[in-house]
């Protein structure tokens, strides 16, 4: 056995290092900020935000579309790896799923909070209420409710079911070390997994089937967000190309975060042999490819916006790309399309100090694109007097920082408590390699 899974188990079972504690402390402080921002919103109302006519949507929808994009790209990546049985999945699948889960949790906050009366969000569920009223099924809000619900539930289950066999390993390791309380805790979540070959067979079938189902689900989750924009009459949004544009330009954000996470994890948990240089190489090139695809989508947007569409759309696009919104628009292209092209150079993509900022800045670039779309789209009112700029308030910044901290805290706790790579996949991969060698 060339690669042992021991470091992965050890990382989950050893006491936390100072770096982890400091990171967790910062993240929890950020979560406290989030709690304060949410509390302020619930008590004082949505007036504490910078939204006002014509800017009915601001940070709430920017962050929502952005987080969904990250979740989307990360899950899409994980699902494709499972379906193609790609060697990379052993190294990055588990935490790509974890990134998706943490991001979708952060995303799910926003549509609820931006309702105005968030405590009534259950009105979007079809249930026989005493009022005798039902949701308006013609409304995109109903799609949104199911889109987010399905995304959260399926991402969480996909991740958890893949985790069950590894929880059984942790249960047995903890029991061997005599830590019975810990063994019981892991054992509870391992659901009595005993590695039966027949169980494995069904487990793998179900896992791959759900990976196949995740693909259309994800596309619909992001497209539903885009469709909500597209069904309005705002010129910059009312385009059939918007759903595809949102899915494609979202890819660099998820892949960038996964790449940065991979670079951090392999050093922080000393698992360089499991997430090896070859894996980092493929991941970095994938981000560069996604950035190219995103670039093609921007080129199409510029072409349609400037040439093919009617005068209202042309004017709206010109305002976004060359008016007051220009810094956000071109900033997005710079960070999420051009900057990742550096990764085509092998010398650069193998350096953690290059890969981490490039990955995170690609995600930031996608945020700028969502800003450009949401704020820039609403910038042009039909009455000149209404053309006021949108300025986010401190409460909105606190919400953004807080949701990023929530994302970080979930990932830090995940990295500590459970194996960050799928151990059974590593064993499986090795046994397949042994067989291949014998056959040679």
């Amino acid at each position: 056995m060339s690669v042992s899974t021991t470091p992965v188990v050890a990382a989950a079972l050893r006491p936390g290092a100072w770096g982890f504690r400091l990171g967790l402390l910062l993240a929890l402080a950020g979560v406290a900020v989030l709690a304060a921002a949410v509390a302020a919103l619930l008590v004082l109302g949505i007036g504490i935000w910078g939204n006002n006519m014509p800017h009915v949507w601001g940070f709430d929808l920017i962050a929502y579309a952005w987080w969904i994009g990250i979740a989307n790209a990360a899950s899409l990546f994980a699902a494709v790896l499972v379906l193609r049985r790609h060697g990379l999945r052993t190294a990055v699948n588990r935490f790509a799923e974890a990134v998706a889960l943490a991001a979708v949790l952060a995303a799910a906050l926003y549509p609820i909070l931006h309702l105005g009366r968030p405590w009534l969000f259950h009105w979007t569920i079809a249930y026989p209420a005493t009022t005798g009223l039902w949701p308006q099924f013609g409304s995109p809000l109903v799609w949104d409710f199911w889109g987010i619900m399905a995304h959260v539930i399926v991402t969480a289950l996909f991740w958890y079911v893949g985790l069950i066999p590894d929880l059984a390993t942790l249960r047995d390791r903890a029991a061997m070390q005599g830590r019975l309380g810990l063994a019981r805790a892991y054992g509870l979540f391992a659901l009595g997994w005993r590695g039966s070959v027949v169980h494995w067979h069904r487990h793998q079938a179900a896992y791959r089937l759900v990976a196949a189902l995740v693909l259309p689900l994800l596309l619909s989750a992001q497209t539903v967000v885009a469709l909500e924009f597209a069904t309005t009459l705002v010129p910059a949004w009312h385009q059939a190309r918007l759903p595809v544009h949102m899915v494609v330009t979202g890819l660099p954000s998820g892949l960038g975060v996964v790449l940065a996470m991979a670079a951090v994890l392999r050093h922080a948990l000393s698992i360089e042999r499991i997430i090896d240089a070859g894996d980092m190489d493929v991941l970095a090139r994938l981000l560069a490819c996604a950035a190219l695809a995103s670039g093609a989508s921007y080129a199409h947007e510029i072409l349609t916006g400037m040439v093919f569409e009617d005068s209202a759309t042309r004017a709206a696009f010109t305002a976004r790309a060359f008016g007051a919104g220009a810094p956000a628009y071109w900033g997005a292209i710079l960070l999420s399309v051009l900057l990742p092209q550096l990764l085509w150079r092998r010398a650069l993509r193998l350096r953690a100090e290059v890969v981490i900022p490039v990955g995170l800045l690609a995600a930031a670039g996608v945020w700028l694109d969502r800003w450009s779309l949401v704020v820039g789209g609403l910038l042009r009112e039909h009455l000149p007097a209404h053309a006021v700029a949108y300025v986010p308030s401190p409460a909105e910044w606190a919400l953004l920082v807080g949701s990023a901290a929530l994302f970080g805290a979930v990932l830090l706790l995940f990295g500590r408590a459970i194996p960050v790579v799928a151990m059974f996949e590593i064993r499986h991969e090795e046994s397949l390699e042994d067989v291949a060698e014998e056959e040679r």
Binding site: W146, A150, D172, R173, V197, V198, W200, A205, V210, H428
Partner: protein
């Protein structure tokens, strides 16, 4: 004090191929109640045991269709019969607007049913299983492979089961008793 009745007999292997060979030998010898344990999926062993994964897919397909039908049906019934709203003379059965939710709910039901159905078919969650009494079984989740002949087998006799397992390429053979 009388010793508890054995739950079965177990053999431990270091290689997956040895486990597959042992399963084939046991099936050929006529053992019917047997279970194999491995730290990772062993497709050959599953085939040798006659495992079928198709029910998982059928459960998913059935649940997916049911979920989509219920989602569309709810929207249709409520909008057309229970609480029709005339919005600018648009048809109450607004199928283009009903489809995205119906489709998402269908995928949601299919995915949840595939995962929960898999657990249900596997008989999980389960608090305990006799095989956990076996010596060294904790390595089944790490690097060892096990073949477990269960006492439910009508032809199970402790002595003959142990003798059969000793004839295989096992590193350890032992009787499993509820401790």
């Amino acid at each position: 004090m009388s010793r508890p009745r054995p739950c079965g007999a177990i053999a431990e292997f270091t290689e997956a191929e040895a486990l597959v060979a042992a399963i084939r030998a046991a099936r050929a010898a006529g053992w019917s109640a047997l279970e194999a344990h491995a730290p990772h999926p062993v497709p050959d062993a599953a085939v040798a045991l006659g495992a079928k994964a198709a029910p998982v897919a059928w459960i998913a397909v059935g649940a997916g269709i049911a979920g989509a039908a219920i989602a569309y049906g709810t929207a249709w019934y409520l909008s057309v019969y229970d609480y029709p709203l005339n919005v600018g003379g648009r048809p109450p059965n607004a199928w283009p607007a009903f489809l995205p939710a119906a489709y998402i709910v269908g995928v949601l039901w299919a995915a949840v049913a595939a995962l929960l159905g898999m657990l249900w078919l596997n008989g999980l969650p389960r608090l305990h299983h006799p095989v956990f009494f076996a010596r060294g079984f904790h390595r089944a989740s790490q690097d060892r492979y096990f073949l477990f002949l269960m006492a439910e087998d009508p032809r199970f006799q402790p002595a003959s089961a142990l003798a059969f397992l000793r004839g295989l390429d096992a590193v350890r053979v032992s009787e499993v008793r509820a401790a």
